[in-house]
């Protein structure tokens, strides 16, 4: 019976949420994409290229940027601040969310600060990014980290709040003593599903923030989008938007595979 369960999960991992294991779902998805491109093409016939370029023009722009090496350079530049920003923001957000939610004292002390800082959009902090880190990857990573921080902070905070009091009681009767032992052996594993949902949301949000983080001159995919926009090269804009979408998709699929493996125990 145990082997049945594990084999079912291996099968699930192949699906990746895209319906790859179900030909009918795959077909419907493909039909949706084709339909969208056809409508887009028809609409583009009625508009000038600087308002709505045709799908083929976007394809050409994509190929051109890829062939010239501009696209891969931009992507690599973005990854250089996306990755550290995401890791730092996620790590700090989860740590703070768990700690503040678990500890009533920390929660009381930080609640007014948290409520004051929470509504500040990452973009509003560009001045600090420049002053503290400079116009470089570190400055851009800071903007991304702020975005990742809050998503992970609130997801982890809520997940820890939702841990059943009964499980804590069981832990106590089985010899769990002290806050650290309780957090490590019960609170963290019990809240892991909620924490990982936050991490996953944060990963996507951080690709969106790549554009904002490059607004003050750091090179990358976002910079290319802004540059092309200024020159009314809408086909190039869309080509780079597609790059962001593809990166998001790749990261999300990979993360879901990890998530499924880590949470095999979940019903």
């Amino acid at each position: 019976m145990a082997t049945d369960t594990s084999s079912r999960f291996d099968g699930d991992e192949l699906r990746f949420g895209l319906g790859l294991d179900d030909p009918r779902r795959l077909l419907r998805g493909a039909a949706g994409v084709v339909g969208f491109v056809v409508v887009w093409h028809l609409a583009s016939l009625t508009q000038p290229a600087y308002v709505l370029p045709s799908p083929t023009a976007v394809g050409d722009a994509f190929a051109e940027e890829l062939a010239s090496g501009t696209m891969t350079t931009a992507l690599w530049s973005s990854v250089r601040h996306w990755l550290p920003g995401t890791i730092a923001g996620t790590g700090l957000g989860v740590a703070a969310g768990v700690a503040f939610s678990w500890s009533g004292l920390l929660d009381d002390v930080t609640a007014p600060l948290v409520r004051t800082l929470r509504p500040v959009p990452p973009l509003a902090l560009i001045g600090f990014a420049i002053a503290w880190f400079g116009i470089n990857d570190a400055g851009a990573a800071f903007i991304i980290a702020v975005g990742a921080f809050w998503i992970n902070f609130y997801a982890s905070y809520g997940a820890v709040e939702g841990v059943s009091e009964d499980l804590l009681d069981v832990g106590r009767t089985l010899g769990v003593r002290g806050e650290l032992d309780m957090v490590r052996s019960i609170v963290l594993p019990a809240s892991l599903p909620g924490i990982l949902t936050g991490v996953r949301t944060g990963l996507g949000r951080c690709w969106m923030l790549v554009v904002a983080s490059e607004i003050f001159g750091v090179p990358g995919v976002g910079r290319e989008i802004l540059r092309a926009s200024n020159n009314l090269l809408v086909d190039t804009v869309i080509a780079y938007i597609l790059v962001l979408s593809l990166m998001y998709l790749v990261v999300d699929v990979a993360f879901r595979a990890v998530q499924r493996r880590v949470l095999v125990w979940r019903a």
Partner: protein, 267 residues
């Protein structure tokens, strides 16, 4: 508390709870209910001798669960004290194996890891811990499910894991709160037989809270009958029926009728 042990009620009629058993000594609990104090338990005294199987029955609202939590060290008593093997219970202790109604297994751990959870915190060597887990799984007949996660187990199997987990650290007392309340009638009878087998083979002291009178008469050496408002001990009934007990046996029926009458007489 001076002189409490000399109280003839505690020592004779209710059992001493001496060196290896449990003594519930004039336990009272007052809650603050909307500014008006509510007396949940009043002067509750009884003992469970070492190796004895005692059931606690009573109408809903008689404070069974509050008393269970006080004995487990999860809630403080307002008055009196609970002693386990002569030592006052001041908080959760691994000398007491606690089994809850809703199993509360750790869903992120396999059956084997759930059973070994308390052992991880003991000073046993790894080899001893593994051997102990093997013994416990054998005891509850779940050896072949050792690598399964709780989600794939039936209610009856989950409760067996919970019992094995509670017994793994070799506690003095097995304390159970309506452990078979969440399973169907057939499974309940099977679990009752198994629990008696486990009790017979381990010689543990068992204190078992239930609202099911027939269950109490099936299992117990003595039944502590509680009354409500405030929660107190109405009477302690000896069950002088040979095991295994059959529900069709006239003596069985007489005991059930007697306990029901006691519960009815103290609404």
């Amino acid at each position: 508390m001076a002189g409490v042990n000399d109280d003839p009620m505690t020592r004779d009629e209710f059992g001493s709870g001496g060196e290896s058993g449990v003594a519930v000594d004039r336990v009272g609990k007052t809650y603050d209910g909307d500014g008006k104090p509510v007396r949940a338990l009043d002067d509750v005294s009884f003992g469970v001798d070492g190796g004895e199987f005692v059931c606690l029955v009573g109408p809903s609202g008689c404070g069974k669960t509050t008393l269970f939590r006080i004995i487990a060290g999860l809630t403080d008593a307002t008055d009196g004290e609970v002693r386990l093997a002569g030592a006052p219970v001041t908080g959760p202790t691994t000398n007491m194996g606690v089994v809850f109604q809703e199993y509360h297994l750790f869903p992120w751990l396999t059956v084997e890891e759930n059973v070994g959870f308390g052992l991880e915190r003991s000073d046993r060597s790894e080899a001893e811990r593994e051997q102990r887990v093997d013994e416990m799984l054998e005891l509850v007949g779940l050896t072949e499910f050792r690598d399964s996660y709780p989600k794939s187990l039936s209610g009856g199997m989950k409760q067996r894991v919970a019992i094995a987990r509670a017994l793994a650290v070799d506690p003095e007392l097995l304390l159970m709160d309506e452990p078979f309340g969440a399973v169907d009638a057939q499974t309940r009878e099977m679990l009752q037989r198994e629990l008696l087998d486990v009790w017979g083979s381990t010689g543990k002291t068992v204190l078992f809270v239930t609202h099911d009178v027939a269950e109490a008469v099936t299992l117990a050496d003595r039944i502590v009958v509680m009354a409500a408002e405030p929660g107190r001990v109405a009477e302690v009934v000896d069950v002088d029926v040979d095991r295994p007990r059959e529900r069709g046996d006239p003596a069985f029926g007489e005991h059930v009728a007697r306990v029901r009458e006691l519960i009815g007489a103290h609404p």
